[in-house]
Symmetry: C2
Subunit: 592 residues, 2 copies
């Protein structure tokens, strides 16, 4: 069975050497000194390793079951959920006004990686609750906040997001679920929603569904969609639970992975709903939480690569197979361990350099979110909105790819369920699909975010990279290995953006046919930027002689690998993009 | 539920426009005229669509079960297997002396793609039998051949290959299974083998296990391995079945996919075995079948991309979602179908251009095998031995990737099992692992095949490409789109080989650290070569005005896509390779 250990050493490097959080001007960051963050991360790592990780395979094997309309979670989930709640983890980065601990998003993301690495399906019950919490927190009336948030911050009540219907997911304008206004100001919600993660289960007293629906007579398409709070049990004025609402689980989906999470078909039959935010502004209300939600899914992709890598590494050190081509390294053993072989190294270095680079990108995005929220910084908000589709799309694509790489290290043992590597691949696969399939992330990036505020935010990104490389251009130790390839990658990314500008005006297909490649090349440039920044931080620590030289040397070597072996993908994507839309759109639909 | 239709039109193009099989000088090819090949492929397609495909999801859902030592296959498998047998399909390309139909490998590979697309797990019972048949055919005594082959050609008896043990797969030198010689010339085989596909089941009267084992006192390592025939039921002199042999199923593995195939732990307890070939030459005996076996696994990878693509295409035409960015294409419908969107096109064109290019590569490799066997052509044998690791590694890697792409077209519906797209991804995954994990294919290619006969065969490949581009250099219609990028790709592949030669001498890690990239870039060059040849054939057909112009125009457009959008990967792999071993090998094992 796989194991998991939180990489708190690497997180400490990111928080303190790279982002220097306790010296930051972001409100609340001042309390994040090394001993404080380390205490939090160690404790999270302990629960992750000891409580959550052992349940991951159990959840996969047992799955959830629907008995007489009630969803049962796998053996042990309820106990583990209680322990998570007792530790106060669900409220870590929630508003203290409603019982949260008020920590910044950067800590929520770091602990999120830890918990999700240990059990992605298990953690979704909390993750969805957090999303619903954020929506009510941002758009609810005072009364709604008082009614729902305190119990959601503790996860005594969990939450869900109801968007998809059988005939529409991405294109919500086709939605059929109806919300009929009642005289008392409530609405009667009727319709069917599918793919509702954590839609029902036996670990909380109530489930607070957030449901998108159309009020009859409103505008057509997405402009006529409103958002509603639909609790499983209505809440009495004194806060106690009242009668059962008209919402029920129609079925559980059988899925490729995340079996431990209940993916429900939800039937709404004149269920009582409460308008959240304004009429017909439901999409806007959903979008305000999009950055956090998509960052969370990016973290999921990363997390599966993290845990898969850890186990592949252990296996590569243990499993004896063949001899090093340069001569036996362990002549006293019947064979050398896998890790001596260059192609196994190639795989492990691909994984290690992705995992550490991706972790840095996540924490940077989280820092930008904190800056945008806590300092009302519109530039940070603009930059992170630009980066979010990259974080979500790139980290989930590569998270899956790296889980597949890790699985491959095990050979045939990677394919049988006993070793657990298949589960990481199967679980990671969903992150590329939900919360906006990755093609939609690419569309959001190229079709919307690039042009936002006349391209201000993408220019800001390029300026950041430029001023960084300029600032360190005298650093001869890092120039050839880090700064030059980053500069080149950033230049090629600008060329791609320029191609879109020049050709997309004539025909938007020229931009959209290259959108996926652009997202991926942006991901590589972003990770290249992270690696270059990490290299500067590691080099500085080495120069200062602060100790732990081995850690910093390893960091530099891992970064060199990423720059040498991953950044060459950038030119490939540029070539694909500049071939334009014609090869892509050449065929009539009938000719396929 | 997914459906499958054999692409017999494309196969006819390959057999007759491209390879012109009935004009070939390979013995037996003369009977492959278009009406004959079409009759075979249509009939195979019919059984595939009507009999095998409907069982694919059943097999996945039910899996195999072990009851009192007996393996039960999923509902319907036995009937379908009978129909396959009645049609004579298992013996299609087997020796007529033992009841086969004597058709060339090129027809076996074409029908193999068809059958495996319809049901990969189901077809493995026949596929493994074919492998065992080939081994006995190549190395058996006349008596062994008479005893086993007639029943294996019909699949009345099926076969297996027993290599892997719990502690060793790739490194068979560590093997522990023992074969004690007996006075009567037989051996007593004892040990445990794992991951034995089709190890036991209820669809045949006997199972003929081919087992690698060590005769005590023989040389150490792989040089002391011998190959044995170990039938489940011993065969009496009159050919009837005798007593049960000492071989039993210890367990069935739970796997990520191919649930319809019984993956067995096989226990040998003083089972009677008959030496196949010479003592201690078991590895060599296995290797002589390697080309066909690995071609077959390459076909499996391709086949899952084929069927996944077909279904993704149907879905993209049916599912309404959003509007074309250039204006509604179906204004009378509530939304346009997915296929109008450039990023969906990008995905479908990736799939289509891979599937058709991969199919051409498979049939070319099969033609080379036929040439090597039927004409004793050592050059063809050398060339196909070089290509086989590429066919196996590249087609299974890309087959899986393309299955993932197809699954992605379905959005959330791709993740739930109901739609069947998850199964293609899960089933395709194994092909990257078994019959030599793809890292081993890369090692075989770079560490062995490149240098075989002083590099003669890789030079022959480059010469083929060169003389092809030279022959057609006057073809202005194809020059920029096909010939120039192929030339460039081939040049870069040579540069990579040159890098290995120049640096691998000093340190073999410089070659092996780039082996996987080399395999992948070779795959792209090989598919580029196939596409250029297909373009010439399609252009010729258009020039001759033989009709079906739409087919040939589509072929050219699909090829242009591959050249524009896939060949740019070649430069990326070259850059990775020429960065050498240092970034890969920089860390001590403890530093990871």
């Amino acid at each position: 069975m796989p194991s998991y250990t939180a990489d708190t050493r690497d997180m400490a490097f990111l928080l303190h050497d790279l982002f220097k959080v306790d010296a930051s001007d972001i409100p609340g960051y001042d309390e994040l000194d090394p001993s404080f963050t380390s205490a939090i991360l160690e404790e999270a790592g302990k629960i992750a390793s000891e409580v959550i990780a052992p349940l991951n395979a159990v959840g996969d094997k047992e799955g959830c079951t629907l008995e007489n309309g009630v969803v049962r979670t796998p053996t042990g989930f309820k106990d583990a959920f209680e322990q998570l709640k007792e530790g106060g983890w669900p409220g870590l980065d929630c508003d203290p006004e409603y019982g949260g601990q008020g920590m910044p998003t950067i800590m929520g993301s770091a602990t999120g990686e830890i918990f999700s690495s240990a059990g992605m399906a298990f953690m979704m019950y909390q993750g969805l609750t957090h999303g619903a919490y954020s929506a009510i927190h941002a758009h609810g009336t005072d009364e709604q906040k008082q009614t729902y948030l305190p119990n959601m911050v503790t996860c005594d009540w969990t939450g869900t997001m109801n968007l998809t219907e059988p005939h529409c997911g991405t294109d919500l304008g086709l939605m059929r679920t109806k919300a009929e206004p009642q005289d008392d100001g409530t609405y009667k919600i009727s319709g069917q929603k599918i793919f509702i993660s954590a839609g029902d289960h036996d670990m909380s007293d109530n489930v607070i569904h957030l449901v998108l629906a159309k009020i009859p007579g409103g505008p057509d398409g997405v402009k006529g969609i409103s958002l509603f709070i639909v609790p499983k049990f209505l809440v009495n004025d004194d806060g106690s639970l009242g009668e059962r609402n008209g919402v029920s689980v129609g079925a559980l989906e059988e899925k490729m992975g995340i079996h431990g999470n209940a993916t429900c078909v939800m039937n709404y039959d004149e269920a009582t709903g409460y308008l959240l935010g304004q009429e017909h502004k439901g999409m806007r209300a959903m979008f305000t939480m999009m950055n956090e939600a998509r960052l969370g899914v990016g973290v999921q992709g990363l997390s599966q690569a993290v845990v898969a890598y850890q186990n592949a590494l252990d296996y590569a050190k243990d499993r004896l197979q063949g001899r090093a081509v340069t001569g036996a390294e362990y002549p006293d053993k019947p064979a050398d361990p896998l890790i001596v072989h260059p192609d196994i190294r190639r795989s492990l270095m691909d994984q290690k350099s992705f995992v550490e680079g991706g972790r840095a990108l996540v924490l940077w995005a989280a820092e930008l979110i904190d800056r945008s929220h806590r300092q009302d910084d519109a530039d940070a908000e603009g930059l992170v909105s630009l980066l979010i589709p990259v974080v979500k799309g790139f980290l989930t694509d590569k998270g899956f790819e790296n889980a597949v790489l890790a699985q491959q290290v095990y050979g045939g043992h990677g394919y049988i369920e006993e070793w657990g590597m298949s589960q990481f691949t199967r679980d990671a696969r969903i992150a590329m699909i939900y919360e906006g399939a990755n093609g939609i992330q690419a569309l959001d990036l190229v079709g919307r975010k690039l042009a936002t505020d006349s391209g201000k935010h993408v220019m800001a990104f390029f300026d950041l990279v430029k001023s960084f490389t300029k600032e360190h251009e005298g650093n001869e130790a890092l120039k050839a290995d880090f700064l030059d390839p980053l500069k080149q990658g950033s230049k090629e990314l600008q060329e791609a953006a320029m191609f879109f500008m020049q050709n997309g005006m004539k025909n938007p297909n020229h931009a959209l046919a290259g959108s996926y490649d652009f997202m991926t090349m942006f991901g590589h440039v972003a990770l290249g930027y992270m690696w270059a920044r990490m290299a500067v931080a590691a080099q500085a620590a080495l120069d200062e002689g602060t100790g732990d030289a081995a850690f910093y040397e390893t960091k530099l070597a891992t970064g060199r690998y990423y720059m040498k072996r991953q950044l060459p993908a950038i030119s490939m994507h540029l070539a694909r993009i500049t071939s334009g839309a014609d090869p892509v759109m050449a065929l009539d639909a009938e000719a396929f």
